[in-house]
């Protein structure tokens, strides 16, 4: 057993729902007890979808267990076919139904329904949401992709690709697909099929007609991409185009496979991030300490942008999906940090507290943690929240994605000269750190009101009054770090009482 308060990922059948909901004409029959229908609200409320997810739950109750739950399942299957007339049906069990062992796959097979039926085995007590989505998409592709399809003669047409991995309830998948489709179009490449998001059964059948595949989201698309690689010999582009450097590499890789010269496009298109970051007012971003946590792919991409493109210092890097631990460990080595592979948000909270970053890039969980510590934060990855589905166009991928990232990571920070003024005139009655940065407006979490920030002040025992007072003059966004460094410095040297001089000695010792 594992003690959990909040979870980063739902059960695997929620992953299957993300695939079914993303697609057109696919219905998911889920053997599940009453109550599991809560998952519908993820799509109708968080993503604001105007349609119910195409999921029918058998919603068995205790009284059904003594009788025949398998009959209930078969009746539901017939109802689905009659009412929704799907082009294909996926069937499976949620965690409870897995225990009663009704074998949904065998049951529907015996019914010989007049449509393709794809049975899913998603072990609820071992696996989680991302894996469930990946496995579901893979099974759909394996069953429905027409093995006889091949790309047509290339002379008469532009190169064709499939975009793999975007799902319902994904972090900015809608806009990423639009951005990458546009980028490919300008490069002279057409999209054959985007799947699962928006794909029909007919689309899945013709996946084999593409020259190669682009794997946008490895977490949900890699199993299918590997299968297509094996079956249709379609090469896979695995560079995820998040950030300027990665997008440039992506364009070159795609162009090479398509036999196109990328130079004209790369000369013409550039993200504003590059100049915004070189611009003199961004100097203050140098060495900002950033803590990064998310799904493996987004976390690794964020670390590269932070390090190479914004000049931040990565002080923490981790992911919650163990399947991508290897990639995160490799990246952590590059930035010389200890990788944090965990799905325990309390462990992430302690790591953030220990690292005392100036910016947190994370999921909605880390956003809440950062709020408690009064640290600025931007969201870079699922799990998602209603705010992660903005009305405006805001991709993460491609050159426009890099622009969006620059804005959304930099705006929460206290800006250039304001930072200096806050440091210089700490006693101004209305221009103090408790008032928060002016650009954040009223209502932004003022740090002095935050319990954690208050605790930092209150706990300054072992400090002389004079030193404690001086500590307060250090801007709030680095105060925690200064305090921790000074106490560490004192402890290492056996200094029992921290005096004014100790503070400055420590400052000199830890100077960047």
């Amino acid at each position: 057993m594992q003690l959990a308060v909040w979870t980063y990922e739902g059960p695997p059948h929620v992953g299957a729902m993300r695939v079914a909901t993303a697609m057109e004409g696919v219905h998911y029959l889920l053997h599940a007890p009453q109550g599991d229908t809560y998952a519908d609200l993820l799509f109708t409320m968080i993503e604001r979808r105007g349609k119910r997810p195409p999921v029918t739950y058998t919603t068995f109750q205790a009284r059904d267990l003594g009788k025949d739950t398998s009959e209930l399942f078969q009746t539901a299957a017939m109802d689905v076919v009659a009412r929704f007339k799907p082009d294909a049906m996926i069937v499976g069990a949620s965690c409870t139904a897995e225990l009663i062992q009704d074998d949904p796959a065998g049951l529907v097979e015996r019914m010989a329904l007049p449509l393709p039926v794809i049975p899913l085995e998603l072990p609820s007590y071992q696996r989680k949401e991302h894996w469930g989505a990946a496995e579901t998409f893979y099974q759909i592709v394996r069953t429905l992709a027409d093995k006889s399809r091949r790309p047509s003669e290339q002379a008469s047409r532009r190169p064709l690709v499939n975009l793999l991995g975007p799902t319902a309830l994904g972090f900015r998948h809608r806009d990423d697909v639009a951005e990458i489709t546009g980028l490919l179009g300008r490069l002279g490449i057409d999209v054959n099929v985007t799947a699962p998001l928006g794909a029909t059964v007919a689309d899945i059948e013709r996946l084999g007609e593409a020259d190669f595949n682009i794997l946008l989201y490895p977490e949900t698309g890699d199993l299918a991409a590997q299968y297509l690689e094996r079956t249709f010999r379609q090469p896979v582009v695995r560079t995820v185009p998040i950030g300027v450097g990665a997008t440039n590499e992506f364009v070159r890789e795609v162009a090479a496979l398509a036999g196109i010269d990328p130079a004209p496009l790369l000369a013409q298109e550039e993200s504003r991030l590059s100049w915004w970051s070189r611009s003199i007012d961004s100097t203050y971003l140098t060495g900002k300490r950033v803590f990064i946590f998310g799904d493996g792919t987004h976390a690794v991409a964020a670390a590269r942008i932070a390090h190479e493109e914004l000049g931040f210092k990565v002080v923490g890097l981790g992911c919650y999906n163990r399947e991508y631990a290897r990639e995160v460990r490799e990246a952590a080595k590059r930035y010389d940090v200890e990788p944090l592979i965990t799905d325990d948000h309390l462990a992430v909270e302690s790591a953030i507290e220990a690292a005392q970053p100036e910016l947190v890039l994370g999921t909605q969980m880390e956003r809440h943690i950062a709020k408690r510590f009064a640290i600025p934060c931007a969201v870079i990855s699922a799990p998602v929240h209603v705010q992660d589905f903005p009305a405006r166009y805001s991709p993460q991928m491609g050159f426009e994605g890099a622009n969006v990232i620059f804005d959304s990571w930099v705006h929460p920070l206290v800006m250039g000269l304001e930072e200096h003024l806050l440091t210089m005139f700490r006693d101004d009655f209305e221009f103090h750190d408790g008032a928060g940065a002016s650009h954040l407006g009223p209502g932004h979490a003022a740090p002095v009101e935050q319990p954690v920030a208050a605790a930092v002040e209150a706990e300054a025992s072992g400090w002389t009054d004079e030193a404690a007072l001086e500590l307060k003059k250090i801007p709030f966004f680095v105060r925690g770090k200064a305090r921790r460094n000074t106490e560490l410095f004192a402890a290492e040297r056996g200094i029992a009482t921290i005096e004014l001089a100790t503070l400055y000695e420590a400052k000199a010792h830890y100077a960047r």
């Binding site: 057993m1 959990a4 599991d36 409320m45 105007g50 349609k51 739950y57 919603t59 965690c95 409870t96």
Partner: protein, 427 residues
Amino acid sequence: MNAPARLDAQVNGDCAPVLRERGQREVFCGLTGIIWLHRRMQDAFFLVVGSRTCAHLLQSAAGVMIFAEPRFATAIMEERDLAGLADANQELDRIVAQLIARRPDIRTLFLVGSCPSEVIKLDLAKAAQRLGEAYAGNVRVLNYSGSGIETTFTQGEDACLAALVPVMPALPADAPTNLVVVGTLPDIVEDQFRRIFADLGITHVGSLPERVVADLPGIGTNTLYLLAQPFLGDTGQALDRRGARRVEALFPFGVEGTSDWFHAAAAAFGIPTSHVDAVLAPYRARGEAALLRHRDRLAGRTIFFMPDSQLEVPLARFLSRELGMVLTEVGTPYLHAGHLARELAALPPGVQLSEGQDVDRQLDRVRALRPDLTVCGLGLANPLESEGLSTKWAIELVFSPIHGFDQAGDLAELFARPMRRRDVLRV
């Protein structure tokens, strides 16, 4: 129009026969109640023994994450816990030890059963007994089931409160008559009600649950109880078994329901009606004035209740009698004929009641009737809105102060707001 003909049928001046359906039920399970119960009982912790789905439900149903560390958590069962039950019990002991070390302020721990724990027959009653002995004098360990195979949404609170009844202190046979108000109420409503009870002259008033489990009211043969919520069937039975007697009343929604509720309580304590009328008069006047503002907007408008919280019948009674709304179908997950007897009698004749659900067929009826307002769960609201049908999220009715005189206007406002919004928007 394809409306069921029986909607207009009048059976002996009573409600139409109850439509009982069996199919997909689009409802929460009883675990959802933890979201408000854990805030109500400040010395209690709720440990769900379940799956990743249970944990995911709790954080999703909360809508926004309540990030002050909540007083609930899930012990997520894994593959090896299913292999042998002895191991599962050991694992549970380990998790509880971990939890109590982390939260030494906990005085009552609820082990909450889930679908998977029920199906593998993990005996949480036994586990609660074992752990209760282990932490005797420090933490009381109770258990109930919030599983979807046994409970629907608010039935989770019923199961939880029923588990508390046996630990209510016993009162002697000669104790003065006391009153227990049963069902979680928002603090502000509880305080209002306590003031009114005091004005009426009823002094021995307790609540089930209390804000602190340690303060549970006493119970004995001189105990009267008054239900504040309509979904407390098992709790009522448990109270009956301990000798308490239920005061029959309308539920305290709207001016009429709240008046009836206080009148019934006062009558049980032998307080003269004239005194009750005098005490309630200013409250009634205030409540009626507040309702008047919404009556214009709501009168004559049609409303359809999808089954959700079991609050449907009393709310339908309020909307129809005090605001003039027209009831189409009143769906409820479970119709407790005993506790709802007065409510059912107060419904206008011919109202179509339905119990249970086949969500697709029920949605067909909604589409055919096109009611002005449909009360439904979060999974259905936006899809109906996108079809041009106004909806009211049922869950808001559980999470808002809606009981009593001074909330009657707010309650009406919850139904009026979606319509006002529709009138205002030009997009």
